[in-house]
């Protein structure tokens, strides 16, 4: 196997409370496109960051061209010939294309001054090799996203990278730009570069990759030759467990409609969205990252302004609320990013739980710490939160326990509707099933629940009804036996310009 360019063996990486990678081994050959697949939280991004020098693995070896290497920083990774192309591009918009390509490694002359001529010539050579239609002097901020991505790829060319890792490269590209990207990847491939390709889009994976390695819960499930496998096989490897027995779905006891939105539109993010949810019902919202799901619920909750549409709350049309009004109406939004939006990390559990309801826990502006303490104790017991006490800053807790505090924070005001955006992202399996049970219990207690998830088994396992969202539109609605993996994949992978599919079930 002389053509193996990069191999990793036994990589393990543990974060507080989560085992992100467990004994991961795989290899990349020269001139191959190797897909890395798995659900969110399966460990793909951790593995990438280990390869790019952003994380230090706890154990394991990385071998590059038959030589063991230790990658301690992104700079070292680049020197060794590994280049990561991030989903969010990491360029300096005020600098020129040439300056960006060689960022951190600008050629200098004997006096330590920037050798502009060489910089420009080298950059031009790299751009030409990739067939770029722009020059080295353009300011990067004026380029389209697709061209900016080419600048990043030009770095691979310029530094003679052996391995290039693409993380969801087509997430923000148009169809034409995607074609160009694939042509560029083919060029790199024929030059003998090993490519690691990460994407959620199954059609792309089957179109351009040679082999597929599937990760689940931080472990390699297997490597397959793309030509010898199919969608169902890969999906089974990604999900890998018996859904029906694993998830706990709430008993069906639907009552009055709590929320209905009609024709909800936000100029650039989504348009014409209709949805409704009843008390006692769990509505799943499935779609790829970037489909507009989070933005949709943020608009309902008043964090974004709607451009058009109607909102009917418990049978009455109301104007779109501010977040404060949404809380007072009885809506709760558990956001996708716990740390950025959900918790005040420096505060203890007690203070985080009561934060949206300070009026409830104070009289004449003075806080009632005794009652706060009672609520804290109640939810710590109900949700089984592991913490040393009400004042322990939540930044010290594991992801699962943090998420439970976010839930406690919204549940303690007894809302009528709770929206959970990726409620189990990045938390360990044990806490995941605790949260799934809680979702079922909430619905059985008569709450209306909306669950957004990119994890197919989760959304299939907990929902009574599922809406799929594709590029800002509702692309399908499924209930009962109509809720299958294949149906959801078909609904989200169809291009948006095709006719919108209605009620398959």
């Amino acid at each position: 196997m002389t053509d193996v360019i990069l191999s990793v063996a036994g990589i393990t990486k543990t974060f507080p409370g989560v085992r992100a990678l467990a004994d991961v081994s795989f290899d990349v050959r020269a001139g191959e496109v190797h897909a890395l697949m798995g659900e969110n939280g399966a460990g793909k991004s951790t593995l990438m960051k280990v390869l790019a020098g952003l994380y230090k693995p706890d154990a394991g070896t990385i071998t590059l061209r038959d030589e063991p290497v230790t990658i301690t920083s992104p700079l070292v990774a680049r020197e060794k010939g590994i280049l990561l192309i991030h989903q969010e591009l990491s360029l300096s918009p005020e600098l020129s294309v040439a300056e960006n390509i060689y960022l951190g490694a600008w050629p200098t002359n004997a006096l330590g001054m920037l050798n502009k001529r060489k910089l420009r010539a080298d950059a031009k050579a790299a751009l030409d090799a990739l067939g770029c239609d722009f020059g080295p002097d353009v300011r990067v901020g004026t380029l389209s996203i697709a061209r900016q991505q080419m600048v990043e790829i030009a770095r691979a060319q310029a530094f003679n990278a052996d391995v290039v890792i693409f993380d969801e490269p087509t997430a923000s590209l148009t169809d034409g730009e995607r074609r160009q990207l694939f042509a560029t990847i083919a060029r790199l491939k024929s030059a003998g570069v090993g490519i690691v390709y990460i994407s959620h889009k199954m059609d792309e994976i089957f179109e351009i990759t040679d082999r597929i390695t599937v990760l689940r819960d931080g472990q390699v499930q297997g490597t397959r030759i793309t030509a010898d496998t199919d969608l169902a096989g890969i999906t089974r490897m990604m999900i890998g467990r018996d859904l029906a027995s694993y998830f706990h779905r709430a008993r069906e006891d639907f009552r009055d409609e709590v929320l209905r939105v009609e024709g909800l539109t936000h100029a650039s993010l989504f348009s014409g969205v209709d949805l409704s949810v009843r008390a006692g019902e769990v509505l799943g919202l499935y779609g790829l990252v970037g489909a507009g799901r989070s933005e949709l619920v943020e608009t309902i909750f008043g964090l974004r302004h709607a451009d058009a549409g109607r909102l009917i709350w418990k049978g009455q049309e109301i104007p779109f609320p501010t977040p404060r009004q949404a809380v007072d109406l009885g809506m709760a939004l558990v956001p996708e990013s716990r740390k950025e939006q959900g918790l005040v990390l420096g505060m203890g559990g007690r203070e985080n739980v009561t934060l949206p309801h300070l009026a409830m826990f104070s009289s004449a502006g003075v806080m009632d710490r005794g009652r706060e303490r009672e609520v804290f104790d109640t939810y710590r017991d109900i949700l089984d939160i592991k913490t040393t006490g009400p004042e322990q800053p939540v930044e010290k807790l594991s992801g699962g326990n943090q998420q439970k505090f976010v839930l406690a924070k919204w549940l303690c005001a007894a809302p009528s509707l709770i929206i959970l955006d990726e409620p189990t992202r990045g938390i360990d399996v044990g806490s995941k099933s605790a949260i799934h049970e809680l979702i079922a219990k909430l619905a059985e207690d008569g709450l209306a629940v909306i669950v957004i998830s990119s994890e197919m088994p989760e959304v299939l396992g907990v929902s009574h009804r599922i809406l799929t969202m594709t590029e800002g539109r509702i692309s399908g609605s499924f209930t009962g036996d109509g809720m299958t993996e294949q149906a959801l994949i078909d609904a989200v992978s169809q291009p948006a310009n095709r006719a919108v599919q209605e009620d398959i079930a």
């Binding site: 909750f301 964090l303 501010t322 977040p323 404060r324 949404a326 809380v327 007072d328 939004l333 956001p335 950025e340 939006q341 959900g342 918790l343 005040v344 990390l345 420096g346 505060m347 203070e351 934060l355 949206p356 300070l358 009026a359 104070s362 502006g365 003075v366 806080m367 710490r369 924070k409």
Partner: protein
Amino acid sequence: MTALTSRMRGTTADWLLRNHIWLFLALAVAVFSMASPYFLTVNNLGNVLTQAAFIGILAVGMTMVMINGEIDLSVGATLALASALAIGLQPAIGVWPAVFVGFLSGVALGALNGTLVALSGMHSFIVTLGGLIGIRGLVFVYTGEEALMVEDFAYTDIPEVYLGPLSLTAMIFLALAALFQWVLTSTRHGRETYAVGDNIAAAHDAGIRIKRHKIINFTICGALAAIAGILLSMRLGTAEPNAGRIWELWTIIAVVLGGTRLAGGYGSMWMTVGGILTLAVLRNGLRLLNTPNYVELMVMGSVLILALGLDRVLAARKGAA
């Protein structure tokens, strides 16, 4: 039993980690007590406290704004304006109405700062830097570039109330610090102050009205600057157009020295009181030792960096534990 002692030890260590400034203060007091026989006297310490009170009152307001994640550079100029109005308006409208107008000027400027920050989205550093220059200009226009003298010197007797060695000014400072410490720990407004400073997105999602909240804290800061200005005018009997110049910097130094974070979300009034007293003791002690002015500045600059360095080291150790 063992568990209990270890927990208690943990708490003491925690307290020291959070309030390292009081260790610094104790050290400074010990050193100056040995170096100068005049330092550790009731009279001298009473004076230290009175001298510290003016910047101290500014620092109380600054702490609120800084825990919020903002900064107010205009407090020195606001102090000068309130002081000038409190003295300059006396012949026209009488002593207490003039004092009241001086106070209102601080409230109004604070509210203006807060409104501009909240509504424009500009950083408070820029907004209040504008305030610093603009308000100072206003003071020069109003005073005609001359110091205003009080006509009736009974005005300067107002703060001459003592409780033992404690002057009325010092008492007002300590009372305000205690009041706002209570606001921070026990009221809804205080809770919101930390939440907004630590994670503004989470606070917004929780339904806290960020803009209104910030305007309130800038208004508090402006009002306290005006109170400091009025007390200063009473103490001096004059209003200098240059009064309070670079005091905003000493105020920020004291607050940061205490341990309140510039980034927001963390801090307390006790830390700020510790920072203020440390600065005042250093200044007083060095003067008793006849240290030249510029050496005094060098020492104080070094202490600031040392204290913050210690804070970083302790925070890193705590994070590792």
